[in-house]
């Protein structure tokens, strides 16, 4: 128990910090209120440090399908969380900050602070709670834990979207996001219930052991299989994949850009952590070649991956709004990453290097790359705003607003160019080193058709990413376009810093500094289930589970009356430790 609590130090740090900012953010003194951001940043850095085994002796690897995911996944969340945090100031409570006036005007004084109208405290707290949920996802070893962690990731984001601007479109985005989120949660919860029903346990190790036993006894039973497929379809909401993707562009457009950047990374990572854990629990030892996921899950993921990539890329071409383009690109990237999940550890030929990885390592590595590149693109949108004649401000929206940015504001312009080129996967940049292992893992696992579709989609993506890169670089701004108000830089300069950090990251990680990241990715892809390990754990952990589950694949009909039958039979309810057959005999 103590060992398990020890693995939660990063989350505990974030929790303490979240409680602290909830109090600090309500202070009437501006300088104390301004401490919210540093507190969050400090907590995230400490959490990252602890995740990587800081303080020596604190080992946060867990037992489960992917033991090292807990450590590196949490560290990834901490680092990218810090970059996301730099975008947060100014999202809520702008009226309590002094607003810079137009050219030649004095700054407008802030409103007097009213705690009841302030959102700073809860916004920062929700930010930390959501990241805490994501960290918990990475360390999950049980379906109950996974469900709660996924919900902890999502519930705060619903509020963050809704309060991110005072406009009606944020409210609409919040409602769409919340309702579809609840639908997605209900679907994967039902999937989890069926997995529990089919295997008799919610512990991922025990589930794996039961699946191995079922497969040996003739086949995985249909309830377990249906459970996994439903869980994956429900999780498609979190990763913005096809059957549940249609909220994405509306929500990203309606939310403020910093929150959209948050949505594009945090719930998506939570979904991918969950899908990686579930598929690793199933194992890639089925199919004709013995290196595939079990048939139904394989087919479901295959169809989802192909549709997600294609729909995301084709619809992105038709868009004019930057945030909608990035939303569809986020959908397409989920499709790319699913290729790595389908390929599994069989891909990459077992040899992990920069250019060829096992499918799971590739997915984890790509998540980091995507997080870094994507924050850069959203940071540019967040750093620019259109100031109207009446003094109100709004975010820039259309690609045309980026024109000539490299000339007028070189830092932001080049950040956009580098991020867009990185997301496209141009060779010297980070996106290339992220995407290539996905290709090689697909080839290594023999899914040639999937890899070809991935290649075609990457080519389609060039159209809209090059538009995002060309607008600031090659086009010049027409003065007649500034009818709606002139475009100025946001007074919150930390946002520019976030963009700059991610642009530097896209270049630096690609130019050799990505070595530690690469080896981290390699270790994340290692499964925690060695065959002998599975046998031993299954035997000593939950003796009743395996025999009970073994019944379910038994073809021989038995006289069993398992569910409650209206008669009071308390003795059998308590007979958990009894021999399996005796337990079922009470009905006769």
């Amino acid at each position: 128990m103590i060992e398990k609590l020890q693995t939660l130090w990063p989350e505990i740090t974030l929790f303490i910090a979240a409680c602290a900012v909830m109090i600090v953010g309500l202070s009437g003194t501006r300088s104390i209120r301004a401490l919210c951001t540093p507190i969050c940043g400090l907590a995230l850095l400490i959490a990252t440090f602890l995740s990587l085994g800081g303080l020596g002796g604190v080992d946060i690897t867990v037992t489960g399908p992917l033991p090292v995911l807990a450590s590196y996944g949490k560290a990834m969340v901490g680092v990218i969380g810090v970059i996301l945090l730099l975008l947060i100031p100014g999202v809520v409570d702008r009226e309590f900050d002094a607003a810079p006036g137009g050219p030649g005007e004095a700054p407008q004084p802030p409103r007097a602070f009213e705690a009841i109208r302030s959102n700073t405290a809860e916004f920062h707290a929700f930010f930390l709670f959501s990241l805490m949920g994501l960290m918990l996802c990475a360390g999950a070893d049980d379906l109950i834990w996974l469900f709660l962690a996924l919900e902890l990731t999502s519930l705060p984001t619903y509020v963050m979207v809704t309060i991110s601007t005072a406009r009606n479109r944020s409210l609409e985005a919040g409602v769409k996001y919340f309702f579809l989120g609840a639908l997605g949660a209900a679907i994967f919860l039902y999937g989890f219930a069926l997995i529990y029903g089919g295997t008799g346990s919610t512990n991922l190790e025990a589930v794996h052991a039961s699946i191995v036993a079922q497969a040996d006894a003739g086949g995985i039973n249909s309830i377990t299989m249906a459970g996994f497929v439903m869980a994956i379809i429900g999780l498609c909401f979190k990763i913005a994949a096809v059957p549940m993707h249609f909220y994405t562009p509306d929500v990203y457009q309606g939310a403020a850009a910093p929150v959209a950047a948050f949505l594009a990374f945090v719930p998506k990572s939570a979904g991918f952590f969950a899908i990686m854990l579930l598929t690793a629990t199933l194992g890639w030892s089925f199919g004709a070649s013995g290196t595939e996921l079990p048939g139904p899950v394989h087919s479901a993921l295959y169809i989802i991956a192909v549709l997600t990539m294609t729909v995301g890329n084709v619809l992105a071409i038709l868009q004019n709004s930057i945030k909608r383009i990035l939303a569809y690109s986020s959908i397409a990237h989920s499709g790319y990453m699913l290729v790595g999940i389908i390929a599994g550890p069989g891909g990459g030929g077992g040899a992990d290097s920069t250019l060829s990885r096992n499918g799971l390592s590739a997915v984890w590595f790509y998540l980091v790359c995507y997080g870094v590149m994507n924050v850069g693109a959203f940071a540019v949108v967040a750093s620019l705003e259109r100031r109207r004649a009446d003094g109100t401000h709004d975010e820039i929206d259309s690609v045309a607003d980026l024109r000539g940015l490299c000339a007028s504001r070189p830092l932001l312009g080049w950040t956009m160019v580098i991020s867009a080129a990185g997301l496209l996967g141009l060779p010297p940049l980070l996106g290339f080193f992220g995407k290539l292992p996905l290709f090689t893992s697909g080839v290594g696992a023999g899914h040639y058709l999937l890899v070809i579709i991935l290649g075609i989609n990457s080519a389609i993506a060039a159209y809209y990413y090059l538009r995002l890169a060309a607008a600031p670089l090659l086009e010049s701004r027409d003065p007649a376009e500034s009818v709606g108000g002139e475009i100025v830089e946001s007074p919150y300069r930390l946002r520019t810093a976030a963009g700059l950090i991610s642009a530097v990251g896209v270049v630096a990680l690609a130019l050799g500094l990505g070595g530690p990241l690469g080896s981290a990715a390699t270790s994340v892809g290692q499964s925690g289930f060695a065959p002998s390990y599975v046998g031993r754990r299954a035997a000593d952990r939950s003796p009743a589970v395996i025999p009970a589950a073994a019944h379910t694949v038994d073809d021989e009909p038995r006289d069993v009356e398992p569910a409650a039958d209206g008669s009071v039979d308390g003795a059998t309810i308590e007979s958990d430790g009894g021999p399996p057959d005796a337990r079922f005999d009470h009905a006769r």
């Binding site: 609409e172 409650a564 958990d576």
Partner: protein, 129 residues
């Protein structure tokens, strides 16, 4: 009556779990796992269809609640079937999450109603691409 039982198991795809349905002494007096699963699947289906077809925000939210409770019912039935308490434990947590979502949904509904004086989801379609 045997036909009824096997139809139920076929309906849920639960043939492997509902062992020995063929020789029930009094099928109508005994409630098996399959009955619970069918009820749970029906609740889930009603919730899903309701969510897709209805446009009133409160009804849509109740439909997702229905789907949550369908999962809860399945968990309890499985818990009794496997004779361990994991499923029941799970349900407690599910209820907690459902309560949190209810709080959030009602807060959103109140906000929306103040702005537009309607709970029709189609009144909110400013965002289109």
């Amino acid at each position: 009556m045997t036909g009824f039982a096997s139809a139920m198991s076929a309906l849920t795809g639960a043939a492997t779990l509902t062992l020995g349905q063929s020789d029930f002494p009094h099928p109508m007096h005994q409630v098996t796992l399959a009955h619970y699963l069918v009820l749970s699947a029906l609740l889930f289906g009603i919730g899903l269809i309701g969510f897709i077809t209805r446009r009133n925000l409160i009804i849509m939210f109740l439909c997702t609640e229905l789907m949550f409770q369908a999962a809860g019912l399945a968990l309890i039935a499985f818990s009794r079937f496997h004779l361990n308490h994991t499923g029941e434990t799970f349900v407690i947590f599910v209820l907690t999450i459902a309560a949190a979502e209810a709080a959030m949904a009602l807060a959103l509904v109140v906000l929306l109603f103040r702005r537009r004086e309607t709970l029709d989801a189609s009144a909110w379609s400013e965002l289109r691409g």
